[in-house]
């Protein structure tokens, strides 16, 4: 019996247990390594070749990625039962990035020296080396029956199978809404080329504050991915960024995404750079990326290849002329830590 066939209640209990069991293990001091427990996950993973996974891959043809028609598909739908606000701070923690040997041979030490600031630029690096390979496009069908596009990033974990994005990229937000379906991630997407194929999710996760109340303080989402057709885990194919929580809100970050609204077309990874600031308690950054960039990673201490996920694109703002100029992202506090700990070893 695969995990996806279990009821949401059991999954929620599993989530709480996961938080309880791993909460102190990862929420450690900076530079702490992830807890590796791959053996415990072996019996729970779902092969990407099962019928449901294959149907999602087939669904997202190039044409549907532009203009899609919805179909029905159900994923497991756990959410985190946390009593503390996502913004509540505790001990700072970090989990380091990971790169598979094949990618390490492609000159990962090359640092990004171009700082576009708030006028986003196309990422100049390869789409088959991090961060070009760890970032990707997210495709899903919402409960209104319409298809949407977001952005996301792989994150290193014991399970080597997690993608982080915005909460609204996995769930509609609020008690009357539902988890999205047909959820797929295309790492390294560029001009409709999918160097690592289309990956499907076996579980979608968000915080209760998002799924119950659409509170953007909690607009963080995670997907536990199926393996590919060869049984490989996504982080072992494309690499995984690090992640941090309870770090100071103001950081110099590289902000990535696939903006699709005009003047962009969503075909290439773009990025802004800047120092984040408090914007009504949320993280803010000045950037002209447009809709479609949601869920894209904000990487702190980025070295041109890897950094630590410090937030994700959440809300976009525009001026009186309709020009997009600013994004907000949720502060990664204890909520982000709980979410990470819940999915890290699935």
């Amino acid at each position: 019996m695969s995990l996806r066939h279990r009821g949401p209640t059991l999954l929620a209990v599993a989530a709480v247990l996961a938080v309880a069991l791993t909460g102190t293990a990862v929420a450690a001091t900076p530079s702490s390594a992830p807890v590796s427990n791959a053996a415990a996950n072996t019996g729970k993973r779902s092969a990407a070749t099962d019928a449901r996974s294959s149907s999602v891959v087939r669904y997202w043809t190039a044409e549907r990625m532009r203009n899609a028609i919805p179909i029905e598909d159900k994923l497991a739908k756990p959410s985190i039962n946390t009593s503390m606000p996502a913004s509540e701070k505790g001990a700072a923690g970090r989990v380091a990035s990971a790169a598979p040997p094949a990618l390490l041979q492609k000159g990962l030490a090359q640092a990004a020296t171009l700082l576009p600031g708030s006028a986003s630029a196309e990422w100049p690096g390869s789409s088959t080396s991090p961060p070009g390979s760890t970032a990707g496009k997210v495709f899903f069908t919402a409960d209104d029956g319409l298809n949407y596009v977001c952005s996301g990033s792989t994150v290193n974990s014991g399970g080597k199978n997690v993608v982080f994005t915005a909460g609204h990229c996995v769930h509609g937000g609020g008690a009357t809404r539902h988890y999205h379906t047909n959820w797929a991630f295309v790492p390294g997407y560029r001009d409709n080329v999918r160097p690592y194929g289309t990956w499907t999710a076996r579980q979608l996760w968000t915080l209760n504050g998002w799924s119950n109340s659409a509170d953007r303080t909690y607009d963080i989402g995670a997907a536990v991915m199926n393996t590919d057709g060869l049984g490989q885990r996504i982080v072992n194919r494309v690499g995984g960024q690090g992640i941090e929580w309870n770090w100071p809100l103001s950081q110099f970050v590289y902000q990535f995404g696939y903006p699709q609204r005009t003047p962009f077309n969503g075909e290439r990874l773009r990025y802004c750079t800047g120092t984040t600031f408090s914007d009504g308690g949320h993280e803010g950054i000045n950037c002209n990326m447009t809709e479609g960039a949601s869920g894209g990673p904000w990487l702190d201490d980025f070295n041109g290849t890897f950094g630590w996920l410090d937030s994700v694109n959440s809300w976009v703002f525009w001026d009186s002329n309709g020009v997009r100029f600013k994004w907000n992202g949720p502060y990664f506090g204890n909520g982000a830590m709980n979410l990470y700990n819940a999915v890290a070893n699935l």
């Binding site: 319409l146 949407y148 607009d219 447009t290 959440s314």
Partner: protein, 117 residues
Amino acid sequence: MSHRSLAAIAFLVLAAAGCGGGAPEHGGSTPLSVAEALRTRPTGVIAVRGNAIVHPDGSARLCEGLAGSYPPQCGGKSVAVAGLDPGALEHPETAGGITWGEATLRGRLSGDVLTLD
């Protein structure tokens, strides 16, 4: 002044403030945000400003913010809007069946439904 006197004064001030009863009215020229409207629930016709999302079936919501997927989704607190003309939106855009843009709407709030005046 004794603590007892201060407590008595505080009680009288609070009691007087409560004499008006009911929800506050808001018909002024400065529109409320969606969150303010839902929190204060004014009676009568109110003006509310937010980000409107209109679905292909004509159903619409006025939202606190815009979650930046493409097309965008309703972000944060929201109210359903009855009778919204997409032409009322500022900088309206349409993609994937969704029309969105900012709007200042005048109507009456009942529950989480804003019925336009």
